[in-house]
Subunit: 419 residues, 2 copies
């Protein structure tokens, strides 16, 4: 039945799958994982969790937002509007002081391993023809958020846009001002009760509460639990897992969920099915912090795989003001790494040539600080750009559908083969 | 706080929201729903479930597939290969007899209310330069499916492609042959254990088993339960719901899930977050059949909303061979319908002008049999094309974020306002 595959391999040993004979018993791999998990838990407690912007003596001030309670958001809005009323009454009209979110105001801080926003801001006066529309939109968004606080409900950006299409004209405008308002009030976007569409799923050794319901993710069948859009209603996380496995793609997630990989090696498996969305990023961070577990990433061997890893790890430029709340420090690059292609003898026809755009993206990544600070990553990425080859996680299926869960991942874990 | 909104409305009544004063108590609406649910349950038992192709004396034969057990699929493959071996041994070489899936071989059958495949087929000989590659791919896919049967696991189309990139060259080729193989073996694609990526979510008054785990969808918080990719591991459905609410978009789904709409009016809320995927279609059909509940659809008021409704209802042309298993008969168009825009006084600025493409799609739909057989739909669609206006479900947010769950849907249910 599998003779096609055998013919393709050079390995003369009678063993069924390449490298399967290198695998130690699961108990030995478990020992490795327990040590890793313990060391990660102590290091994350001492470093990642406590080091904040305040601890660093940076030569400039930075702007960061925090998770605020609904009542704090409400009173922040009310104080802001009071100041504006005073300003109007004293004959000075009014303007909003809006933090700049432009690239020039962003900075990667190696000590924190994430992108932060510096504290430049600009005035948005009402009595100025170039800013009157934007300041009117700002006032309207503040009013709508105030309504959400009073009602205690969550809405999407799209809902927000539709409450006043005449004023906003285009969702891009209301979305941009929403981020401005987050910065102005010093709170995260989720504190504003404006949530993103849900996309991620989670399965494995995790129990948590979603809006008051207790969810046991070992009992979610193959489909898994949809990650809730509102992180503030998530709590009571409990787990006996030794690590979190962050998976880029749906197909690999399904393979691991069906094989109940989390029962062989206790772990929590999570995916955003492609580009990381805010809900999945918040959920991953919450798991990492509350459970003190190491995070291993399984992504495609292409520049976008590493980019996705970096968004989870150091944040996206677009939301740098909120990087402290959205990022999960110290994610390890487990695979599929460019060096794996030869190491695991992925056949030539399962590798894909990189396009010009891919190569450019790869070279750009090599210039990024968050890549540079990890010599292992630089080496891998350099190899990728040199060989001009990429591969999907799915390429491992060439050795059989279950090669990923039965050989590749166990061997990676056994050899502590992450960077 | 909501004075902006009041100013915008013409309604001079002191009531807070338009049409809220028309709402009867929930108990009255519940009575309406109970009658509807009971009548739908008896009609679906007598009509939709029993009427099959065999009951109709059509002037031509049709090809349909069925859900087969893994062992039946396995033995079907084995018999097919045996016949081929006989053919080769008797000196005739071999060819596959492959059903045609082209548009010319498809037909909408009004009695069944779905698209079916006629029984034209063509030979795919191995010893012919124009078909040798395709027949090799067919043999390889049959072999891979046979492997899946033996192992009892599920894979994605992408996994399948990667097992032999050299032969398949392009996923389009392995995907197309996979559909051919379904038709040839007379079974659904899910019977082949090849599944689509999961996308849909479900929440509300439903309990079911996913891969052996019992899932209570009233206890899935706001995130809901991800719909499993493999319907054959779903079973034991129980519900006290009166209807199924099929929602096109994620944002509307979230609103209803957070407001726990299913506790006010017992229902099951399901969405595929846009285009219907195979898993969600299978899941909806299974709910409809096992629970005998009516299905009400909430989609955008644009041609694509109606098209999405039609894919759930009568199937897509691409998979017409499997329409019997993928379609859910008798879905009612609850809203947002073109006539609702004026009826609910949706402000002009929340309506969008239809593009040329939208209008063309709308006119094309008017020519489709599944629209024509429902005079109410023709009327609504004609109105849409005439006014050249469309609107998203989210447009209802203009009257407040919870207008959808607090006024619009309850009133629709109270007035039995579906088509």
């Amino acid at each position: 039945m599998a003779d096609n595959k055998k013919r393709r391999r050079k390995d003369p040993a009678g063993d069924e799958l390449p490298f399967k004979n290198k695998l130690k018993p699961d108990s030995a791999i478990m020992e490795t994982l327990k040590q890793f998990s313990a060391s990660s838990s102590s290091s994350s407690a001492s470093v990642s969790q406590t080091l904040t912007l305040q601890d660093l003596s940076l030569p400039f001030r930075c702007r960061e937002v925090a998770d605020l309670s609904l009542s704090s958001v409400q009173s922040n809005i009310e104080s802001l509007i009071l100041r504006i009323a005073h300003s109007i009454l004293s004959g000075h009209g009014f303007s909003f002081d809006v933090p700049s979110r432009s690239a020039a105001n962003q900075l990667y801080v190696p000590e924190l391993d994430r992108i932060v926003l510096k504290d430049k801001s600009s005035l948005r006066p009402f009595a100025n023809i170039s800013t009157v529309r934007k300041s009117a939109i700002t006032a309207r968004i503040l009013q709508l958020i105030h309504q959400l606080c009073l009602k205690g409900i969550h809405v999407t950006k799209r809902d927000l846009f539709y409450t006043d299409v005449k004023l906003f004209q285009d969702q891009i405008q209301s979305d941009a001002v929403l981020d401005d308002v987050s910065c102005m009030l010093g709170c995260t976007r989720s504190s504003l009760n404006v949530v993103a569409a849900e996309k991620g799923v989670v399965v494995g050794r995790l129990i948590f509460s979603d809006n008051g319901d207790m969810i046991d993710c070992t009992k979610m069948g193959m489909g898994g639990k949809a990650i809730p859009p509102n992180i503030d209603r998530v709590g009571d996380m409990q787990s006996d897992a030794l690590f979190i496995l962050l998976v880029e793609k749906d197909a690999a997630y399904m393979r691991l969920a069906e094989d109940r990989f989390y029962n062989r090696f206790p772990c929590i498996i999570v995916t955003a099915k492609g580009q990381p969305d805010v809900s999945t990023r918040l959920f991953l961070r919450k798991m990492k912090i509350e459970l003190k577990l190491p995070v291993l990433a399984l992504v495609d061997s292409d520049p976008y795989g590493l980019k996705i890893l970096s968004v989870y790890g150091c944040g996206s430029k677009n939301m740098s003001y909120d990087s402290a709340n959205l990022t999960t420090p110290d994610i390890k690059w487990l695979g599929v790494r460019p060096s794996d292609l030869d190491k695991y003898k992925i056949p030539e026809q399962c590798r894909l040539p990189m396009t010009e755009q891919d190569i450019k993206t790869g070279k750009d990544l090599l210039e990024e600080d968050f890549v540079k600070k990890n010599p292992g990553w630089v080496e891998e990425l350099t190899l990728m750009v040199k060989t001009k080859q990429k591969a999907e996680i799915q390429a491992l299926s060439t050795f059989g559908f279950q090669y990923l869960s039965e050989v590749y991942l166990p061997l990676k874990l056994q050899q502590k083969d992450w960077l």
